[in-house]
């Protein structure tokens, strides 16, 4: 009973401390509002506003037809250029794609001689390069087909592919971006808040004072976990409703309550991780570095930025130990695919296990570092 009361009171103390720091409040508000909005709307649809240059050596109706097919918003207006210019432009990163239509293209096409069009892709523009190349091939083939059919009308193909996208029919990047941003902010804020709260106590000598009082390291840690976790949970819930649903107009299919349950479990793990960092780092500068070094891979490799299945197996397996991996899966399942408890329980279980391990390790470190 006493322990619970202590945890409660120490937690209130943490909240008071946080609310006393106006800069911190501004940053929290920013990170859960404007920051989410800008990173949700910042990711372009792919391909989107891709830069393309065309060397048209044919100047025929057929080649013109292909050029006209590159339209906004997927492409910026194609730039007509020559060979030398084309190479220089690619070098300077002015064009991601260049298309070279050979002389006599239309004549060869009509004669069925299967003329070759050269498509150059700037492979350094990673994501746009790969998805855009496919897209351009598609456009060229279909324009050529339409062009030819204008001369020799043809029946429908022997097999038709009907492609439907579910859960986000128009593939709006902002839907995914918004949820991913919320998840990133949750992770970032919770680790920073608890880690820094612990270092702060040490740097200001207050931890020494706590230790001469009838308070155990378990109580000290639990207080930070619940109070900082609560701050992040509330911020996330508000952001999900007001920013994601209202402002960004992202329809949420699944149960928000279930998602928040997952968030709570995730926070249990990340706040423990923050405490752990607080015991490893000897000073704020060390903590800052540790946090950056952890946040980066967490953000990039959890499956929120690029699909997990394309990562090397080793990385996939390592990342299974990170709570964010499970949280990203869980978030996508619940919020977009409307998955229920029956589907996401493995992720919830994983979060519980990871959280429990992190908590136990952090607690034993804390005991040691204080003892």
């Amino acid at each position: 009973m006493n322990a619970i009361a202590n945890i409660l009171h120490l937690g209130f103390k943490e909240l008071r401390t946080l609310f006393r720091d106006p800069a911190m409040m501004v940053l929290i508000v920013y990170s859960f509002t404007l920051s989410i909005h800008s990173s949700a709307t910042g990711i372009p649809e792919s391909p989107y506003r891709a830069t393309i240059a065309v060397v048209d050596e044919d100047r025929s109706p057929a080649s013109q037809r292909i050029i006209d097919a590159f339209q906004a918003p997927y492409f910026l207006e194609p730039v007509l250029t020559n060979h030398a210019e084309m190479d220089a432009g690619m070098d300077k990163g002015r064009y991601t794609f260049t298309l070279n239509i050979p002389p006599d293209f239309q004549r060869d096409l009509l004669a069925g001689r299967s003329p070759a069009i050269q498509l150059n892709v700037d492979a350094t523009q990673v994501s746009q390069a790969f998805s855009g190349a496919g897209h351009i091939q598609q456009i060229v083939s279909s324009e050529v087909a339409t062009f030819l059919s204008g001369y020799a009308p043809d029946a429908s193909p022997p097999v038709q592919a009907v492609v439907r996208t579910v859960y986000n029919p128009n593939l709006y990047q902002s839907w995914f971006g918004a949820i991913n941003a919320v998840i990133n902010q949750i992770t970032m804020l919770s680790i920073i808040l608890t880690g820094a709260a612990l270092i702060r106590e040490r740097e200001h000598g207050t931890i020494e004072h706590l230790l001469v009082m009838p308070v155990t390291p378990f109580e000290i840690m639990s207080a930070k976990v619940w109070s900082m976790g609560l701050v992040v949970l509330v911020a996330a819930a508000l952001a999900l409703h007001f920013i994601v649903e209202e402002w960004l107009d992202v329809p949420i299919t699944g149960s928000v309550a279930l998602f928040l349950l997952g968030t709570t479990l995730h926070l249990f793990a990340t706040t423990s991780l923050g405490i752990f960092f607080g015991t490893v780092a000897r000073s704020m500068p060390q903590l800052g570095l540790l946090i950056i070094l952890t946040l980066m891979p967490l953000q990039v490799l959890s499956g929120g930025m690029t699909p997990r299945e394309s990562m090397p197996e080793l990385i996939q397996n390592i990342m299974l130990a990170a709570p964010t991996t499970h949280f990203v899966m869980l978030g996508q399942s619940i919020l977009f695919r409307g998955a229920g408890l029956a589907i996401v329980w493995p992720q919830l279980l994983a979060l519980v296990v990871i959280g429990a391990v992190f908590f136990a390790v952090a607690l034993s470190r804390l005991r040691k570092s204080l003892g």
Binding site: K92, P115, S333
Partner: protein
């Protein structure tokens, strides 16, 4: 020197939020004198000194120091080197990780001293203050009193014309205190033009001053020589005169303290046998024994750093000890025994309550943690607020309160839960005489009426006289233990102070400290270079002084350097391998409702592709839905019944593809792949059936430039390097300034001639160097380990990296100068680096594809430019001629960030 007045104040007022610190103070302070500022805690002494030193911004009135207006920045710049200011607090302006010598060297360099002069002065000062043996010890490891001495040495390093000391001897032992004043007296002898302004809580010190200013409630009560003040108040001692000067209500309840005799008690409350503590090969406490009876007031006296605090901490269980035993009420001290903590009240030497909670909230929190009964606490709270005179500051934050008031709060907290043992580590240091007497009244009452055992350390001899017994400690050993009177008699001394000093001198086997006999050899004529020539507007030496200090701190912290270097390498490794834009191994499953060889043939096209990985087939629509929903598959293909038959009949059957759109970029990739595979199937079909002529109508030759094999590493390495070189240097720098703000050493920046530009660049340089080391390691790693060659000029890339690292550290500094707490700086840095660098700088999507806010950020953010340089040099072998616009952009960013940082940084405290 300007006439006989060194400082002139007219109608100076100062307010913190709603509290008035100074109200309409007008005062003229005579030059070439030793002037004392006395008064109770919290009457505005420190505020006044900070204003005079130029550390705090003037709000109202005028302050004229050394013949100029301190509101004028130019005058502050010129007079800065002539003023030395030592702020209150135990070594607040020192750098904990730097050694004593390095701290002194730092200050000496700030004042532009040459090596020889520096060496001489440091040797001189450390010898006269007894720090000579400790020059290689980090300042953070010094005892409270030694920190004070070091603080004074730092203030005296440059022969100031005006020396401002804010309670310099608080927490300093009597021997050191007398050495300290001797030192100042000698300096004044050699530099008779120097004026000294001191705030002090020791009335015996004030007695020796030339002129005194008595203050109360933000106002000056009286001024004059000590003798004049004594005559005016008709008092025999300054201590009494001080009380007499106070308005009547402040004197309330103050009377001479009498201590009733202690009833005999055989109960042993605290017992120590052979208690020993070693830090490395330094023995801090060496076989200490004592027994303290229940209800006894036991005093602990000793020179600074002799092990008093360490002994006390061991008794509370905060520090484990190597040898011996310690018992409280017969029970061995056990740090894990929660119950015994309830019986002990402890007050540490440095303030250790929450400075972000108000006075009342601090009390409340402690009451709750001790589970005090609510009703009981209500009365107890009121009682303590009155006893310790804290009613007026209930809602104030401790960080805004003067030292004396904070000490009173700490005491109130220590006794709150009515402990049976009180362990108090210099509880009255910095507390004014009246408050001290009140406090002792409480202690005596607790000891005599409630039987509370009190173990207290102090440097006040009149307090030591009040103890039942005292122990004298020196260099980790107890020299003598007895009643104060007996100790005095044994040494045949008139006062306890004399007895104490005699014991110490004997123990340290120095009949007379060397310092006392040899005066410093400072040639006063040649010394003060800064006094006649105005300090330069820009000084490379000052800049380098800060750079060197910052560099030292970085070197002292090998963990930070290792983290920065090893961390980036590991990150390059996992991110280089981990981020693949080439989406592969996508899981799909088929709902084959035809189950013919034709349908299986169609599926083979998909499952044979390297992009897709087939999962167990789907059984029904429900199964299809469930597996898509669970994320088990990201593509479901449905082949309709009669597919084979319809195909043969030319009925154009429809194959349905269901793609999981939760992750749009993956979905559109799947879309593309699926279309491609479907088309390939159609072409194959056409060839086989001979319906159409061979081949597609058009052949699209796809070439991936710069990375023909579309490998992930050559694509990712040039993109991850800019990312890492932004985050790590920015985070390293981000705490540079804000850390000094939070820990107090920023005062050095306020009161020394260093300019904002020198300060900022000085802070930045070491991290730029570190960033470049990082860069070199990253390049070596990518060439040697990853086999990703730099196709272009390494020199161009290095130049770009240098500019870029300057931008990154500049961004960190900007954040650091804007924020006031380290937490906010870390969070702020994470926000302004992670999202813009990863998402908006063109790592995955080119900046040209962005719109709105993200496009603006993308175009302005340095990572965008360096990313283009990095990719250009790494993959495209571009030179400076092709890349110059991006270099220009970085070049322009550096001064902009610098200017913003300068604007965000204030040269005075507000």
């Amino acid at each position: 020197m300007t006439g006989n007045v060194v400082i002139r104040l007219h109608s100076v007022g100062l307010q913190y939020a709603s509290t008035v610190a100074l109200a309409d103070v007008s005062l003229e302070i005579p030059a070439r004198q030793m002037v004392g500022l006395i008064g109770p805690d919290g009457v505005g002494k420190s505020s006044l000194l900070a204003l005079i030193a130029g550390a705090r911004r003037l709000q109202a009135g005028g302050v004229e120091v050394l013949g100029g207006d301190m509101a004028n920045a130019e005058h502050r710049r010129l007079t800065g080197p002539r003023i030395a200011y030592m702020p209150q607090g135990l070594g607040k302006n020192l750098y904990a990780t730097l050694t004593v010598r390095e701290n002194l060297e730092f200050f000496a360099r700030l004042f532009g001293q040459e090596r020889a002069e520096r060496e001489r002065r440091i040797a001189d000062l450390t010898r006269s203050t007894g720090l000579a043996d400790f020059t290689e010890r980090p300042a953070g490891k010094l005892s409270g009193g030694m920190k004070q001495k070091l603080g004074l040495c730092c203030a005296l390093i440059h022969d100031p014309d005006l020396l401002i000391l804010d309670e310099p001897t608080t927490g300093v032992d009597p021997l050191s205190r007398s050495q300290f004043w001797d030192l100042i007296a000698r300096i004044r002898q050699q530099r008779p033009d120097m004026s000294v302004l001191v705030a002090t809580a020791y009335m015996d010190e004030a007695q020796r001053f030339d002129w005194l200013v008595a203050m109360n409630d933000g106002q000056v009560l009286d001024t004059g020589t000590p003798r004049a003040l004594l005559e005016k108040t008709r008092c025999s001692s300054l201590e009494e005169a001080f009380v007499a000067l106070l308005p009547t209500e402040k004197r309330r309840g103050h009377r001479q303290l009498t201590i009733p005799p202690r009833p005999a008690n055989d109960d042993i409350a605290i017992e120590a046998h052979g208690l020993t503590k070693r830090f490395g090969n330094f023995t801090a406490v060496d076989h200490v024994d004592f027994r303290i009876e229940r209800g006894e007031i036991f005093g602990f006296l000793g020179s600074n750093g002799c092990g008093k605090s360490t002994t006390m901490k061991m008794l509370t269980g905060l520090l484990p000890f190597e040898e011996g035993e310690a018992r409280l009420f017969g029970q061995a001290v056990d740090p894990n025994d929660i119950e015994s903590r309830r019986r002990v009240g402890y007050m540490s030497q440095a303030f250790s309550l929450y400075s972000e909670l108000s006075v009342g909230q601090n009390l409340d929190l402690h009451a709750r943690l001790f589970h005090m009964d609510a009703a009981d606490y209500r009365t107890r709270r009121q009682e303590l607020l009155e006893q310790f005179d804290l009613q007026d500051v209930i809602d104030a934050l401790p960080s805004r309160l003067p030292l004396g008031v904070r000490q009173r709060l700490s005491l109130a907290v220590a006794v709150l839960h009515r402990p049976e043992i009180l362990i108090l580590d210099e509880p009255t240091s910095g507390v004014d005489p009246v408050a001290r007497d009140n406090f002792w009244t409480q202690l005596v009452k607790m000891s005599r009426e409630d039987g509370v055992t009190i173990f207290i350390s102090t440097h006040f001899m009149n307090e030591a006289m009040r103890c039942d017994r005292i122990s004298l400690m020196h260099a980790g050993r107890v020299l003598a233990s007895d009643t104060p009177q007996a100790l005095q008699e044994t040494r045949g001394a008139d006062t306890l102070e004399q007895a104490f000093i005699a014991y110490l001198r004997e123990a340290s086997q120095a009949p007379d400290t060397a310092a006392d006999s040899t005066p410093p050899q400072a040639p006063p004529a040649a010394a003060p270079a800064g006094a006649d020539t105005p300090p330069p507007r820009f000084s490379r030496r000052r800049l380098l002084s800060y750079a060197r200090r910052e560099g030292m701190e970085l070197r002292r912290d090998p963990i930070r350097a290792t983290l920065a270097l090893a961390g980036t390498l590991i990150l390059l490794f996992i991110m280089g391998y981990g981020i693949t834009m080439d989406v592969e191994d996508l899981s799909f499953a088929v709902l084959d409702r035809d189950q013919t060889t034709t349908s299986q043939h169609y599926i083979l096209n998909l499952s044979g592709s390297r992009y897709f990985e087939e999962q167990p087939p789907l059984q029904s629509y429900a199964d299809l839905n469930a597996r898509l929903r669970s994320g088990d598959i990201s593509l479901a293909v449905e082949i309709p019944p009669g597919f084979g038959r319809d195909l043969k009949r030319g009925a154009s059957p429809q194959v349905a593809y269901w793609i999981d759109g939760a992750m749009p970029s993956r979905a559109s990739t799947i879309q593309g792949y699926a279309q491609g595979i479907h088309n390939a199937y159609l072409q194959e079909l056409a060839r086989n059936t001979g319906v159409s002529d061979a081949g597609a109508p058009v052949d699209i030759a796809l070439r991936y430039r710069y990375n023909p094999d579309v490998q992930s590493l050559p694509a990712m390495v040039p993109a991850v390097i800019p990312l890492l070189l932004m985050m790590i240097p920015a985070m390293l720098t981000a705490l540079g300034v804000v850390r000094e703000k939070e820990l107090g050493s920023i005062t050095n920046f306020y009161v020394t001639p260093v300019t904002r530009l020198e300060f900022l660049i000085g802070k930045q340089l070491p991290y730029v160097a570190m960033g470049m080391v990082n860069f070199v390691l990253l390049i070596v790693l990518s060439i040697v380990v990853f086999g990703v060659p730099v196709k272009g000029s390494l020199l161009v890339l290095t130049l770009g990296a240098l500019l870029y690292v300057m931008c990154a550290t500049g961004l960190g500094l900007l954040i650091s100068s804007l924020f006031n707490s380290q937490i906010a700086a870390i969070f702020g840095t994470a926000i302004v680096t992670l999202v813009p660098a990863i998402q908006f700088s063109g790592m995955t999507h080119p900046v040209s594809a962005m719109e709105g806010v993200s496009a603006i950020i993308g175009y302005l953010y340095p990572t965008s430019h360096f990313l283009l340089i990095s990719r250009g040099v790494f993959s495209k072998a571009l030179g400076l001629l092709d890349l110059y616009p991006y270099f220009l952009a970085l070049l322009v960013t550096i001064p902009i960030l610098g200017a913003l940082s300068i604007l965000g940084l204030k040269k005075q405290e507000r």
